[in-house]
Assembly symmetry: C2
DNA sequence: AAAAGAGTTAAACAATTGTTTGATTAATAA
DNA sequence: TTATTAATCAAACAATTGTTTAACTCTTTT
């Protein structure tokens, strides 16, 4: 009764994150959050004014986690080719460890009005990046062909994130169990950077 | 009063498809379907036993539409390289015209137990395809390197579908309006097949 | 024309939802 | 200690949910 002081708020947020990530906004019920947090229902409205506000705070955190991961990596001072390998490798690991994040971000994004993105400040995130500089420089040197940085980023994200978002379908069509799926993604760690580099170097 | 006979059922299904696609299962309310269909609320339960059954019939149709599109293309008697270009081109067009389908399929797939996939019969869809034969043959001839067909299909799908699923985010980060986004996807029609072919031919 | 059946309706149903209330307990300040 | 504030709780609230009922209308069949 001394240690648990003050942690009701924390336990609510942890429980809410779990439930929201697994079931989305509409699918999540306040009573389930309360139960999972081991807390009285009214406490949720006491600490967070409403379901909407509780959700928004969790969505914002998760969103920052999702794009922040990428934002850091594209600005590291690593040579272009190594960087592409690294981004694919680390982003695959990140999502493997947080497999619910992509579906959560993408599903609830439709609902969110664009006002949300403005607050975070993702606009120009790529245009101002070291990654873009490198793409331009290497293209000027004639080492790779010119390409929009956004195309490269979306290619990386699409190739990594999509299999997770479509995981039940992918696993069933491919006849993969959990282990098989992870093996499938491990192979992709090799294929995706090779593919991108093959495209960039060619012509 | 003569022509409208019997089409209540149809109007309900059309309205339900629109609403379910836009808002998902949980986000869809029976009263909204009734209103959009211009039909009394009770009619929905009269023709379709429950919300669940109505949803399932629409989900099944949409799912077949989504994977059927792919199933047809991978079995066409076109040379491998041309086929890859064609699949990318036509699938991009298909999703451009039905932009809500991917999010719908992928979101509600999590809820669906695997039993659903079994009914449709997607297992082995790729393994038995002409597309796989072609990959094997060309690899044996030494024209391309060996690769799992599933990896290629997922690469195609990920590169095309992901931008649509993440459209609000992509558009905002890239500063794209509707026209800009379509231009972005048009460019991808070129990049994606080139990238895949560059990877396959290389080494 | 009468009977039967399908189609349609407004109203009600019970269950579940997010939120609020008012009382009770614990912690802090005077 | 006493008074004030914060935290917690069971209960109730009004609104919304999917579904059902029972009456009514129109069409079809006999």
């Amino acid at each position: 009764m001394a240690e648990e002081k003050q942690d009701a708020e924390i336990k609510i947020k942890e429980a809410a994150r779990r439930v929201f990530l697994a079931q989305g906004y509409e699918g999540t019920k306040m009573r389930q959050i309360a139960e999972e947090a081991g807390v009285n229902l009214a406490m949720i409205n006491y600490y967070f004014r409403s379901k909407e506000q509780l959700f928004q705070s969790i969505y914002a955190e998760t969103f920052v986690q999702f794009v922040g991961q990428m934002a850091v990596m594209i600005n590291e001072p690593t040579p272009l080719e190594v960087k592409i390998w690294k981004i694919v490798d680390r982003y695959t690991d990140f999502i493997t460890e947080n497999p619910l994040i992509p579906s959560f971000i993408l599903s609830e994004q439709q609902t969110n009005d664009g006002a949300f993105f403005r607050e975070i400040g993702v606009r120009g995130l790529i245009e101002k990046s070291v990654f873009k500089q490198q793409l331009v420089e290497e293209a000027e040197k004639g080492n790779i062909r010119a390409i929009e940085p956004l195309q490269v980023i979306i290619t990386i994200l699409g190739n990594i994130v999509f299999p997770f978002v479509a995981r039940p379908l992918v696993s069933y069509v491919g006849g993969l169990d959990d282990e098989g799926f992870l093996e499938f993604m491990k192979t992709r760690k090799q294929i995706v950077p090779e593919m991108i580099m093959a495209y960039l170097k060619l012509k």
